[in-house]
């Protein structure tokens, strides 16, 4: 029987790794992947707490998060594709037109 707290700590580690990846990487695509990692870390915490309290609603929340994340990935990737067509680059450092 594995203690649920281990899963919570693992979820924290995954979230921190996602934040680190988001800060370190300079590629829009990989930064977007890092956001997906953070979402998955949150999902793990949801499932762990659902187990801890014996409630199924946590797993239903994860189901909704996964479907919304899939929709978000489709729209986000379309926007990245559009940025690439306009600017010919996906490096976050090169996209600074909003900077005055």
């Amino acid at each position: 029987m594995i203690p649920v707290s281990w899963f919570l700590v693992l979820s924290g580690v995954l979230f921190a790794l996602g934040v680190a990846a988001f800060l370190i990487k300079k590629d829009l695509l990989v930064m977007f992947l890092a956001v997906e990692v953070m979402l998955n870390a949150a999902n793990l915490a949801f499932v762990a707490f659902a187990r801890l309290h014996g409630l199924l609603e946590g797993q239903a929340a994860v189901f909704f998060i996964i479907t919304v994340a899939a929709a978000e990935a489709a729209v986000g990737l379309a926007i990245i594709l559009l940025v690439f067509r306009r600017k010919k680059t996906v490096k976050a450092d090169d996209i600074s037109v909003l900077k005055g």
């Binding site: 594995i2 990989v30 729209v75 490096k91």
Partner: protein, 165 residues
């Protein structure tokens, strides 16, 4: 046995994400995350959520990562500049992430102490989840389909090539 499985899966998960951070090529980064997300699905299974585990493997490790790889294929890859140029920034990012991790673990410490009650027999079965989704959570479930439809149309309109006049 289950403990061993937990450590194996979490090592696979963390290792995949480290591989994503350390590889310079966006395609390799996306490919590293596939086993990572699949291992996360197996962890959901260990926590007593077979339905969520299968959804995670099919949608995340399958559909979303394939979508990412398609976009990686459409964008010509140039390897990112090597680390030395931004060593200070790299160190700062790692320190910030470590601080965040400490913060998360500190705020979890109350939950970490509570011992888990044994889950009821058959907890998280597919039937229970389905019943919950189609009774109490029927409206969110239907609205989710609208969200997906909107995302589908939005992605098509965004990514469509404009006909040049």
């Amino acid at each position: 046995m289950a403990t061993l499985l937990f450590f194996l899966l979490s090592a696979l998960c963390v290792g995949g994400i480290l591989g994503m951070i350390l590889s310079r090529n966006a395609a390799y980064s996306a490919l590293c995350l596939v086993p990572s997300f699949a291992a996360l699905g197996a962890l959901f299974g260990l926590l007593g959520g077979p339905f969520i585990a299968v959804v995670q493997v099919i949608i995340y490790a399958g559909a979303v990562m394939v979508l990412f790889l398609f976009v990686v294929m459409m964008i010509p890859l140039r390897p990112a500049p090597s680390f030395p140029k931004r060593k200070a920034f790299f160190a700062l990012s790692v320190v910030l992430a470590a601080c965040l991790l400490a913060l998360i673990v500190l705020s979890l410490s109350a939950s970490l102490k509570t011992s888990a009650a044994a889950a009821p027999e058959g907890f998280g079965g597919v039937g229970d989840i389905g019943r919950l989704l189609f009774t109490d959570l029927l409206y969110p479930f239907e609205i989710t389909s609208l969200v997906i439809l909107a995302a589908l149309v939005g992605a098509l309109i965004l990514a469509k090539k404009k006909k040049s006049p």
